[in-house]
């Protein structure tokens, strides 16, 4: 009887999994930095047109998991990733997948705004240029304009596209970085604490932007701010000491989490 129920639950779960459109799925993802294990068998999916927030105390592995999703850990020599991560059902570690193409489909915005020391225009045009997305100058102009518009920056910079991107304010720089990521039409955008270096007004601006971007992209955001996770995300995943504690609808996580650790963390009892 018991066995039967378990099997039924399993079946129901699989059925549910199939109903939901997962953009990316991580199965048993573990990460080692040299001898140190940073992530323990994480199973986590990223849904289509959904903002997924990764929360947890510092060093819990949420950024590490994020960096697995576009294989940014490849750039760290000592890092080793095991487990299976798929994008639209395709293993991203498969030899047939080119990391260049993967990163074009899974864009990333960093904690600290890192515009290149180039003009605003060139910053946005960077990705389209290396991927050969624009055939002509008007094409490129079009891409740059629409990307800046999507990032809500167009009106502020349209008259000074040739000025240095590094000359913008912090919040503008971060939106420039979002525009840069958007310019190659990714399907998923990863954001690693995108607002931690910004003031509250710039933060509100970026959060608004995340709301708008959700219509077209799947977004995964790492954040230390509970309020931010509650405001921008639909799904929340809680990490602790390299383990995924739980993952659920944001509303449920913030009102009635299953795990005591989640509750403690959200209430501010640790971390």
């Amino acid at each position: 009887m018991n066995v039967l129920t378990e099997a039924a639950t399993e079946k129901a779960l699989v059925k549910k999994m199939n109903e939901i459109n997962y953009k990316m799925v991580g199965q048993d993802v573990s990460v080692y930095y040299g001898d140190k294990r940073a992530l323990f068998d994480v199973n986590l999916g990223v849904r289509d047109n959904t903002v997924t927030a990764l929360i947890g105390p510092s060093g819990c592995g949420k950024s590490t998991f994020l960096r697995c999703l576009n294989r940014m850990n490849d750039t760290i020599q000592s890092a080793k990733v095991t487990g299976r991560i798929t994008l639209d059902g395709q293993d991203i570690h498969d030899p047939s997948i080119d990391v260049v193409e993967l990163r074009a489909r899974v864009g990333m915005v960093f904690q600290k705004p890192n515009p290149f020391p180039k003009s605003i225009y060139e910053n946005v045009a960077y990705g389209p240029r290396i991927h050969g997305l624009a055939r002509s100058k008007p094409d490129m102009d079009q891409i740059v304009e629409s990307s800046l518009q999507k990032a809500g920056l167009w009106n502020e910079v349209k008259d000074r596209l040739n000025e240095a991107g590094t000359g913008l304010s912090g919040g503008q720089q971060q939106r420039l970085c979002i525009a840069r990521a958007v310019a190659v039409s990714p399907e998923v955008i990863l954001m690693d604490e995108p607002c931690s270096a910004l003031d509250p007004i710039a933060t509100a601006r970026v959060e608004e932007l995340i709301h708008e971007l959700r219509a077209n992209y799947s977004i995964v955001i790492v954040t230390h701010s509970m309020q931010q996770a509650a405001r921008v995300s639909q799904r929340t995943a809680m990490f602790h000491l390299g383990h995924l504690v739980e993952e659920d609808d944001t509303d449920k996580m913030f009102t009635n989490p299953n795990d005591q650790r989640t509750q403690d963390y959200i209430m501010g009892r640790f971390g």
Binding site: M72, T75, V99, F110, K112
Partner: protein, 486 residues
């Protein structure tokens, strides 16, 4: 008392002062039952500094001023009649100094006393022979006036030295005692020694700046002399370099400047691409352990004496280029050539480019790389489109530094490119550079009175202006680079 022993006495006094000051501060604190403002060592340091530093400065100043005063006094004793026809007063002064030094040696060697100078045992008639005995050779017999001047010179110098010893050690003792008396627990000894350190640092930087100013001043002074004898328009616009010893030289700078620029250009063509690629490899591709091995290994190149490079150019590279390239192509049969010197010099300055560029490339924040990789750029795309443009100003600075090093190089050119001043495009021809000609114009028995020798200063000044310009440019570029990530 010799300068060395005065310095030794100062050091001993300073050490004594240190312990006295330290002890006094401790006992004062004990007596008054108060806490010292500073650590006891600072009180000792204060006393030691007061003992040593002012006295030492006085010593230095004295050493500079005393000879000037004595010489002007002795100079008055020399009538014009003792100056030989066509000779200079400074030559006679040199004789005076030599005789004065010789007299000291004679007295030391023979055990004669000071009186011997006055009672005729040692006088103008036999002084030449006596000096010869102790190894001081004089060119001719000594005129009475010169001998008398030498004696005065000796006495003044002796008196001066004695006064100096008294003044210096007196200053040390006086200031030391004064500093000791001032010690009380409330005295801010830490601040005093802090200020002393500051003054010391400022003093050191002043010396560096004053030296530069002095070098420029002497160059400018002699260059002005040169242009009084030789027209500046000839110097700057003539294309012939043909110095003659009997006058009528043609001293156009262009053949030399051309050689300098040509050889430096070849050197940079070698060093910049190789150095840059080394830098990129070390900064972005090489593993940490390889980098920590390879970088010092490459920097060894900069530590090899240039004369060794010159030998390499002379016996290996030069003949190789001649036998395998120049002669088969019919481009010349000189083993000294622009290409030889340029190639070897290029190897020498590789580390300047690679090491500095490596540091600069490394200084480009990791965030730039991450940003580029996250856009799907490959490593070489990232380097080409983000890292190099970001590091470019710094790299230009490194290249300019290497260029000024190449322009100033002498030994490699002498051995590798020869000494023939020539305006030619053929890189297999022997040519020469400004620095080489400066050396050759000043080598041998020369006096600084003819345009042939003074031209060296004009050449030096031109070179100085060029390298200074390059350095200023490099500094400016590097400073702009610094602003970029702030």
């Amino acid at each position: 008392m010799s300068v060395g022993s005065i310095v030794l006495v100062l050091l001993v006094l300073a050490v004594i002062g240190y312990f006295l000051g330290r002890g006094r501060s401790l006992s004062a604190a004990k007596r008054d039952h108060v806490k010292l403002h500073s650590l006891p060592g600072y009180y000792g340091q204060t006393v030691a500094l007061f003992v040593a530093v002012p006295a030492f400065l006085l010593l230095i100043v004295w050493l500079f001023i005393q000879p000037v005063l004595i010489e002007s006094r002795v100079n008055e004793m020399l009538p014009d009649s003792v100056i030989p026809e066509g000779g200079a007063r400074s030559l006679v002064m040199a004789d005076v100094r030599q005789i004065a030094g010789g007299l000291d040696a004679v007295l030391n060697r023979t055990g004669l006393t000071e009186e011997a100078l006055d009672d005729g045992r040692l006088d103008v008639s036999n002084v030449r022979a006596r000096l010869a005995e102790v190894g001081v050779a004089l060119g001719s017999d000594v005129p009475t006036e010169v001998y008398e001047a030498a004696k005065t010179y000796r006495r003044s110098a002796d008196t001066g030295d004695l006064l100096m010893a008294i003044a210096v050690i007196g200053t040390a003792l006086g200031l030391g005692v004064w500093a000791l008396m001032r010690i009380s627990p409330k005295m801010r000894a830490r601040n005093v020694s802090e200020n002393f350190v500051l003054a010391l640092l400022i003093g050191s930087s002043t010396i560096a700046i004053l030296t530069t100013a002095g070098i420029v001043a002497s160059l400018v002074f002699e260059t002005v002399n040169f242009f009084k004898m030789y027209p500046a328009s000839e110097f700057f616009f003539s294309t012939v370099w043909n110095p003659q010893f009997r006058g009528g030289s043609e001293l156009g700078i262009w053949p030399l400047l051309w050689g300098t620029l040509y050889i430096s250009l070849v050197a940079l063509l070698v060093a910049v691409p190789i150095g840059l690629m080394i830098a990129i490899y070390l900064a972005d591709y090489a593993s940490q352990s390889l980098r920590s091995l390879a970088k010092p290994a490459i920097e060894i190149l900069a530590g090899i004496p240039t004369i060794v490079y010159g030998l390499f150019a002379l016996i290996t590279v030069g003949p190789f280029l001649r036998d395998w390239i120049a002669q088969p192509l019919g481009l010349g049969n000189s083993s000294s050539s622009v290409l030889t010197a340029g190639l070897v010099m290029g190897v020498m300055i590789i580390p300047f480019v690679s090491s500095l560029s490596d540091d600069i490339i490394n200084a480009v924040p990791q965030a730039m790389r991450d940003g580029s990789y996250a856009m799907g750029a490959t490593q070489s795309e990232t380097i080409k489109r983000v890292i190099l443009p970001a590091a470019l100003p710094g790299i230009v600075g490194a290249i300019l530094l290497a260029a000024s090093r190449a322009i100033g190089e002498t030994m490699i050119v002498v051995l590798g490119a020869g000494a023939a001043a020539r305006l030619d495009l053929n890189p297999f021809e022997a040519m020469t550079t400004v620095t080489v000609k400066i050396v050759s114009q000043l080598t041998g028995d020369t006096e600084f009175a003819s345009p042939e020798t003074l031209v060296a200063f004009a050449l030096g000044l031109t070179l100085f202006v060029i390298t200074l310009g390059l350095n200023v440019l490099a500094l400016y570029v590097v400073r702009r680079y610094r602003e970029q990530y702030e």
